[in-house]
Symmetry: C2
C-alpha cells in the first residue's frame, strides 16, 4: 500500500508512542511491584528504550519525511499540520541532544543521585557539590545546543522541554505579580487561622480502608477501572497511556487525607490523559500540552475542588462509610479548616497552597542564576538560606532542610520547577471561567456529580491535546491571556475572606 | 573508544536483550496486573518491541559486523566464538522471517485465537477451520523460507525455533522407543493403582495460605525474592530476566497441590534462568538452550523431585504449618499415591506423567502430517479422534475435548509440541546421572537441602548457557547421547515397581 510521507511519519510516531508506553509501564512497575534488587536491570531496560526513541527521532529518514511533508503542507488538514509541527518539535529536541550527551548526563545523574542522598542524610553539601557541578556543566552544554536549535535563551530552552511555549520573560511577570501580594497574604491568613484552630482529625484508619475510599472517589470522578489501576508507591505518580492508566499514591496511617489528596492530584492528571483526543492518541498532537498544563489539572482537582466545602460536603458520608468517621472533628467546616491550614515551614513537599509558591519561586530564581553564571554551585546553600529567610521569614536549620531537600537538581531536572506555580495560576484562571459558565457547579460537586466539570475540561483543555500552544489554549478557554489575577482573587477569597 | 566489530556486536545484542526483557515484563503485567480492557494497547506495545528486535537483527549493519567478526575469528576466545555462532543463528532466523510475514501471521493468529475460543465453546470445528487454514498456510510459508535459510526440512526448521538442534529423525526414534512400551505401562499402572486407591486429600485451604506455602518452598529451593516475585495468573508462567524473575501460578481452592505443582514447574525454569552464565547474561550465548532443555528443568523439579517420597517427607511439616493439615490422608504415602495417580482422560492439561506423552506424541504426528501435506486441516478432528482412541483407548466426546482443547495451533505454535516429551526424557537422563553422582540426594531432599542438586545442575546444565548444542550438553552431563531408556527405567520403577 503506497503511503504519503506524512502517513509514514504517523507510522513512525506510532512506534515511538508504543515504546514510550512500554517505558512508562516499566517505570510504574519499578515503583509498585519490582523487587528492590532489580533496579540495575530495570535501569538497563529503560536506557535501551530511551535510546530506541532517540534513534527513531534522529534518523535522517525521519527528517527527510518531515521535509517532504512540509513541502506538501497544502494537502494536510488542520490537525495534521499541528501534528507535523509537534513532530518537528520532538525531532528538534532530540537532534539537539546527541546520544553521547544524553548518556553522559544519565551516568552523571545516576552518581549524583546516590551522593545527594548521602549528603542529605549527613546534611553535608560538600559531599554533593562536585557531582552537582558536573550535572550543571553537562546540563549547561545541553541548554547551549538546545538554545541554538530552538532560537531560545539557554534556560528558556530547558523550560521548553517541560512546558513548551513558556519563557522567563512571561514567567517573571507572572511570578512578580504573585510575589508582590503573597508575603502579606501569608501573614494575614496565618493570623486569621490562629483565631480558629480546627479540632485535630486523627481517625483510627485501618490499612484496607484508605484504599477503598480512594477507589470510591476515583469511580465517582469517572476514572475507568477497566482500563486503569490504583496502587501504592513511595511517591504518588501517574504512569501508563490512554487505555491503561496507572495511578499510585501513598497512604499514611497517621493522616487520613494524605493518600486521598495524592489520589486527587494524580487523578487530575489521569483524567487529562483520558480526555486527550482519542483519534490522535498515538501521535504527538494527541499528547498533553506540557507540565504546566498537567499540573493545572492536578491542582484543579486536588486543591481547587478537593480542598473546598462543596467537595467535603459530598465526601462526608463516604468518610463515615469507609473510615467509620463520626464526631465533631469530622464535620465539614472542621475538615475544611484542617485542609487549608497555612504554615511556614522549610520543606516544600509539606507546604500548603499559599507557601508552596514561595518555595518554587526561590528555586526558579536560583536556577536562573546558576544558568546565567552569576551563582556558582558552591554558593548555593547560602543563597538558599538567605533567599528563603527573606521570602518566608524562616531560616532552614541545615542544608538537609535547605537546598538538599529535593532530588530534582541531582537528576538534572532544571527548567521543570516553574511549572508547579504556573499550574496553579492556570488552574485558577480555568476554574474562574468554569464557575462563571456553570453557576450550579458547587451544588453538583456537593451531589457527587462531576460530569459537567469534566465535560467542560474535555471541551476546553483535554480534547485540545497539543494542537494549540499553552497560551492559545488558555486564551481560547478563558477569553483572556494568562495572568496572576485569578489566582490572587482565588487565594484572597479562600484564605482571607473565608469563601470556597 | 575504538571497539572491534565483535565488541560492537555485543553492544547491539545488549540492546536486544534489554528490549526483550522489557517485553517479557509487559507480558507478565498483562497476565498479573493489567486491567482487562487494556489488551489492545498492550498488544500494540508488544508488537512495537517485537518489531524493534526484528529490525535490530536484520539491519545490514549487523550482518556486516557478523561477517567482519567471522573474518577475525582467530582473535576470539571459545565463549566469544559460541556467542558469535548464536548471534548468527538469531540473525538467520530473523532474516528468514521478514517483517511483512511476521505481521501477517500476527494478524491471522489474533483473529484465529478469538474464533478458536468461540469454536471451542460451541464445540464446532467448522467455525475455526478457515482461520486455522490461513494460519497453517502462513506458517507453511514461514517454514519454507526458514527451511531454505537453515538447510533443514520445513517442519524441522519450525522445531529449530523452539528447540534448536532437534530434528524429526532423532525425535521419531526417541518417541518410537517410548511408544513401544507406554500403552502396556499405562494399563499395568492403572491396574496396580486400582488395588490401593489413596484417601481423598481435600483440606480446607484458606485463600492466603497456598501462597505462603509456595513462598516457603521457593525460598528453600533458593529462589531470590530480592530479585524476583511470585504472583497469581490464569496460567502458571515464568517471565522476566536474570536479575528480575517473575514466577506466576494459579491456586485452586479445591486442590491443595495444583498451585504448588505449578510453582515447582515454573521455579525449575526460573532456577535455570538464574543459573545461566552471569557474565554472558545479556548475550545470545548466555540464554537457555531452548524449550526442551527448559521443560526438562521444570519437569525435573515438579515431577521427578516434587512428586517423590523424599520431597513429600520434607513437605509434610510445611503442609501442617501452612494448611493445618493433619490426619491419615496427609501421610506421605497417601500424598505420594495421590500425586502419581494415572488416569486415562481426554484433556492434556489434566494428564499425568504417563498419559501426558500420549497427548503430545499424537499432536506431533498430526503436525508433521499437516506440514508434509498429507493431512488437510478439515480432516483434523477425525484424525485426532482416531489417533487418540488408537493410542489411549478413549474416544473424545467432542472436538472441544479433542483437537479444539488447546490454543497452540490457533496462535501458530507449530514445532513447539515435541519439547514437552523431550523435556521429560532429558530430565530422566540428567536425574539418573545426578542420583548416581550423589548417593545422598534422597536424604538431602528429605532434609530440605537442595544445594547439591542445584550445584550439579548449574555446573552441568544452567551454567552452560547456549555455548553447546542441546545434544553436546546432554552428552557432557551424562556421558551418553540422549535416549529414551532412562525415562522408561524411571517410569517402570515409579509406576510398576513402587520405587521413587
Amino acid at each position: 500500500m503506497a503511503s504519503t510521507p506524512y502517513q509514514q511519519l504517523e507510522q513512525e510516531f506510532r512506534r515511538l508512542h508504543a515504546i514510550r508506553g512500554a517505558a512508562s509501564l516499566l517505570r510504574w512497575d519499578a515503583a509498585v511491584m519490582m523487587p528492590r534488587g532489580s533496579a540495575d536491570v530495570r535501569g538497563e531496560q529503560l536506557a535501551a528504550l530511551d535510546s530506541e526513541c532517540h534513534v527513531l527521532l534522529t534518523t535522517p529518514k525521519l527528517s527527510r519525511l518531515i521535509e517532504r511533508s512540509q513541502a506538501m503542507e497544502s494537502q494536510l488538514e488542520e490537525w495534521q499540520l499541528a501534528n507535523l509541527r509537534e513532530m518537528r518539535r520532538e525531532r528538534d529536541h532530540a537532534i539537539a541532544t546527541p546520544l553521547s550527551l544524553v548518556t553522559r548526563l544519565a551516568r552523571a545523574t545516576a552518581i549524583a543521585e546516590v551522593r545527594w542522598l548521602e549528603a542529605k542524610q549527613e546534611s553535608n553539601f560538600a559531599l554533593f557539590a562536585p557531582h552537582l557541578e558536573e550535572v550543571v556543566a553537562l546540563t549547561r552544554d545541553k541548554a547551549q545546543v538546545l538554545s541554538q536549535a530552538l532560537g531560545l535563551a539557554p534556560y528558556d530552552a530547558l523550560i521548553d522541554e517541560f512546558s513548551p511555549g513558556f519563557v522567563c520573560a512571561e514567567i517573571d511577570q507572572l511570578f512578580n505579580a504573585v510575589s508582590r501580594r503573597l508575603p502579606q497574604m501569608i501573614r494575614e491568613a496565618i493570623e486569621l487561622q490562629a483565631a480558629r484552630p480546627p479540632l485535630p482529625v486523627l481517625g483510627k484508619v485501618s490499612v484496607a480502608k484508605p484504599r477503598s475510599l480512594a477507589v470510591a472517589v476515583m469511580r465517582a470522578l469517572g476514572f475507568p477501572f477497566d482500563r486503569g489501576r490504583l496502587d501504592e508507591s513511595d511517591h504518588p505518580s501517574t504512569e501508563g497511556v490512554w487505555g491503561d492508566l496507572r495511578v499510585t499514591t501513598r497512604f499514611d496511617m497517621k493522616d487520613p487525607f494524605a493518600g486521598l489528596m495524592g489520589v486527587l492530584h494524580e487523578t487530575g492528571q489521569a483524567m487529562y490523559d483520558l480526555g486527550l483526543p482519542v483519534a490522535w492518541r498515538d501521535q504527538p498532537v494527541g499528547r498533553d500540552r506540557g507540565m504546566a498544563l498537567e499540573e493545572s489539572q492536578s491542582l484543579l482537582l486536588e486543591v481547587f475542588i478537593g480542598r473546598s466545602r462543596p467537595f467535603l460536603t459530598w465526601l462526608r458520608p463516604l468518610l463515615e462509610k469507609h473510615y467509620g468517621a463520626t464526631g465533631p472533628e469530622w464535620e465539614v467546616e472542621n475538615l475544611y479548616q484542617t485542609l487549608i491550614r497555612v504554615r511556614r515551614g522549610a520543606i516544600r513537599s509539606e507546604a500548603d497552597e499559599l507557601t508552596y509558591p514561595v518555595h518554587i519561586m526561590l528555586r526558579y530564581e536560583l536556577e536562573k542564576r546558576i544558568f546565567d553564571g552569576s551563582l556558582p554551585v558552591r554558593d548555593l546553600p547560602e543563597a538558599w538560606r538567605d533567599g528563603f529567610e527573606q521570602r518566608l521569614g524562616l531560616r532552614p536549620a541545615n542544608d538537609a532542610e535547605g537546598c538538599l531537600q529535593d532530588v530534582h537538581w541531582a537528576i538534572g531536572s532544571f527548567g521543570f520547577v516553574p511549572s508547579y506555580v504556573l499550574g496553579g495560576l492556570i488552574a485558577a484562571q480555568l476554574y474562574e471561567t468554569l464557575r462563571r459558565d456553570h453557576a450550579d457547579l458547587d451544588r453538583e460537586i456537593e451531589g457527587g456529580r462531576f460530569g459537567a466539570l469534566f465535560d467542560w475540561l474535555r471541551a476546553n483543555v483535554h480534547g485540545v491535546g497539543a494542537s494549540l500552544s499553552a497560551q492559545e489554549l488558555i486564551r481560547n478557554a478563558t477569553s483572556r491571556p494568562l495572568t496572576a489575577a485569578p489566582w490572587l482573587r482565588h487565594a484572597e477569597a479562600k484564605y482571607l475572606e473565608g469563601i470556597g
